[in-house]
Point group: C2
Chain length 182, copies 2
């Protein structure tokens, strides 16, 4: 068997489940990728799912890592008063950008953060998901995060981890923590 | 209830389970922490569990993040010919350093990577684990990773995520991938 140089096959990786650590693990992968001198594109499908700590921290990994914050914020949650059409348009822009970056040949790793949630909310269609996955170049590592990954996606993926919530601080009555929850 | 500034209570966080993403999620937390200007100490209990990508990548987050690679490599696995005593001494050094850094007041976040594995291998005793946890200062966020977390630790923890392996590339006959597996 030939030695694998890590570029011969790019993986489709899914982080899903209701536990914490999905986006955080994707973020951790950017550290590793940057260590190899790879170029990374991170596209956030749900604006507001990251807070300032992550966004400021990832800037330290520039220029190797590019972050695009797309989407119009949480949908149907927390004082959302934007019309659904506006969320759909924002998701379409995120989708177009994702496809463009994935197929540009410029990146070794592309992370589509919270894409599963955008799907669940109906902002991205199942056909669009299938199109994105089918357009993945052979050498590209593609990471898709978010709870509620479709069975179809799990079947397509090379590596799937379900982050299972065993215990959350809310159960102990502790408020959301800076640096941990946001 | 007073507003939580994120420093009033430091959490004990456990990433466990057989799936990928435990250390990677801990790494991702360092990005977030650095974004807040926090000081982070990462202590690796099992040398060789990280590869060059992660180690080179995390250097980009210096000086906020310090990495100490302790341990004497995989124990009882992959051509290990070191006597057990040597592994235990190395683990003791990692333990001493962990305790020192945790209680120094210099760090906001301390990550004890693969401590659960060091425990399972008998390099760290259960009493030592209890001592480490009991010495956690109130404000410090402490993250412990590794499969096979003890029930006692899960009971003590504020936040526990089990990374569950749903699918791994080996199942598809793909070799370990640079940037993903190491």
């Amino acid at each position: 068997m030939p030695e694998n140089d890590g570029k011969s096959k790019g993986l489709l990786i899914v982080y899903t489940g209701d536990g914490k650590g999905k986006t955080t693990a994707a973020l951790g992968m950017t550290i590793r990728a940057v260590g190899y001198g790879w170029k990374v594109a991170v596209i956030q499908f749900i604006k507001g799912s990251w807070k300032y700590g992550e966004m400021d921290g990832i800037k330290k990994l520039a220029p190797n890592v590019e972050l695009d914050i797309m989407g119009e914020g949480f949908v149907g949650i927390i004082d959302d008063d934007k019309p659904m059409e506006q969320h759909r348009e924002a998701a379409k822009k995120a989708y177009d950008l994702a496809l463009e970056k994935m197929t540009s040949g410029k990146y070794d790793l592309v992370i589509l953060d919270e894409l599963n949630v955008a799907l669940t909310l109906g902002l991205i269609s199942f056909d669009e998901l299938k199109e994105l996955v089918s357009q993945k170049p052979q050498k590209l590592h593609l990471v898709i995060t978010g709870r509620g990954a479709k069975n179809w996606l799990i079947e397509q993926a090379d590596l799937v981890t379900e982050m299972k919530e065993v215990k959350h601080p809310y159960q102990k009555g502790i408020l959301a923590q800076k640096g941990v929850d946001y």
